[in-house]
């Protein structure tokens, strides 16, 4: 069984590795309420930790700092300040928008964490850290974070 086998070609081979995922994402009670408020009332809600008082948006069930279970919802104005951003200028599969477009992290007023979303109605070369932003909601909403179309500069 130890003979050499020169007859097997060394031709380089490329294979298509076929993969398909179809995850069912369950947003849970906390995520559902957050998305429902956006969908039904165009409201962005945060959740407040009873131990340290931090307000999280997007909300989560437990505070990652003190592990307290959170149940106190805080209605936010939706307005906030830009803390970070990036401009996507190339195209690849599954981008939710046609490039070029900008992602930003928006620190909402009365909240202690930032939320990532798109920036719109803004010149991509004139985006500034600290600029004031407000949400623009889609007309037809379906219970998704993309029910917020984007954040635009606040007047």
């Amino acid at each position: 069984m130890t003979q050499n086998l020169p007859e097997i070609p060394d031709t380089l081979v490329n294979v298509d590795v076929i993969g398909y995922s179809n995850f069912l994402v369950n947003t849970g009670a906390t995520g559902t309420k957050f998305l429902k408020e956006i969908r039904d009332n165009k409201k962005i809600m945060g959740i407040k930790c009873p131990s340290c008082g931090k307000v999280y948006v997007p909300p989560r069930l437990h505070c990652p700092t003190c592990f307290a279970r959170m149940s106190e919802w805080v209605k936010l104005s939706g307005k906030g300040s830009l803390t970070s951003y990036t401009v996507v200028r190339y195209e690849e599969p599954y981008l939710p928008k046609q490039p070029p477009f900008a992602y930003g992290i928006i620190q909402m007023d009365s909240a202690d964490t930032g939320m990532a979303h798109f920036l719109g109605e803004v010149d991509l070369d004139k985006i500034k850290i600290g600029m004031r932003l407000e949400p623009v909601f889609k007309e037809e909403r379906e219970g998704s974070i993309l029910d917020i179309d984007y954040f635009k500069p606040s007047s």
Partner: protein
């Protein structure tokens, strides 16, 4: 400005379908793939201790020396271990839940290398470590140089 959380009968779920097909350049392992297309199992052999490895490696992971010799591993092997998945799992090629009737096995080939595969025998009570197995190949025109060109390993009488 605050509201209390109440029990809500609606839970939002959404599907996240993604096609993650990609092109994989096999490089050094191309010879292994070409062998599979011809219905043969090749392994690389370490020049230090003669250990054969599948999938083939350009460098022996034990002795860190280049492996240039390819060895035909034959069509038969002996069962090392077997397990069966008794609950549905996602098929990564379709994204759908699927049950798997055939046990997944490890085989030590006649040439000394070890590899994984599917066992044709679905009744695990009939599987014994050390039993002789033979590769069952896809028809030649269907082989793509992939490990699943070997459809199953079939137990055979000694």
């Amino acid at each position: 400005m605050t509201t209390e959380q109440k029990q809500d009968p609606e839970f939002i779920q959404f599907r996240y379908p993604r096609d993650v097909t990609y092109h994989h350049a096999l490089g050094y392992q191309s010879k292994f793939a070409n062998g599979l297309k011809q219905g043969r199992i090749l392994a690389t052999k370490c020049p230090v201790d003669g250990r054969c490895t599948i999938p083939p490696r350009i460098v022996c992971p034990m002795h860190h020396v280049r492996q240039t010799e390819w060895v035909d591993q034959g069509q038969r092997g002996r069962l090392i271990s077997a397990f069966k998945i008794n609950f549905p799992m996602f098929n990564s090629r379709t994204g759908e839940l699927q049950t798997w009737e055939n046990p997944i096995i490890a085989v030590e080939l006649e040439g000394g290398a070890r590899m994984d595969g599917w066992c044709m025998e679905t009744d695990t009570s009939k599987l014994k470590t050390g039993m002789l197995l033979e590769a069952v190949w896809r028809p030649e025109e269907e082989r793509q140089g992939r490990a699943d060109d070997i459809m199953y390993w079939k137990p055979i009488e000694e």
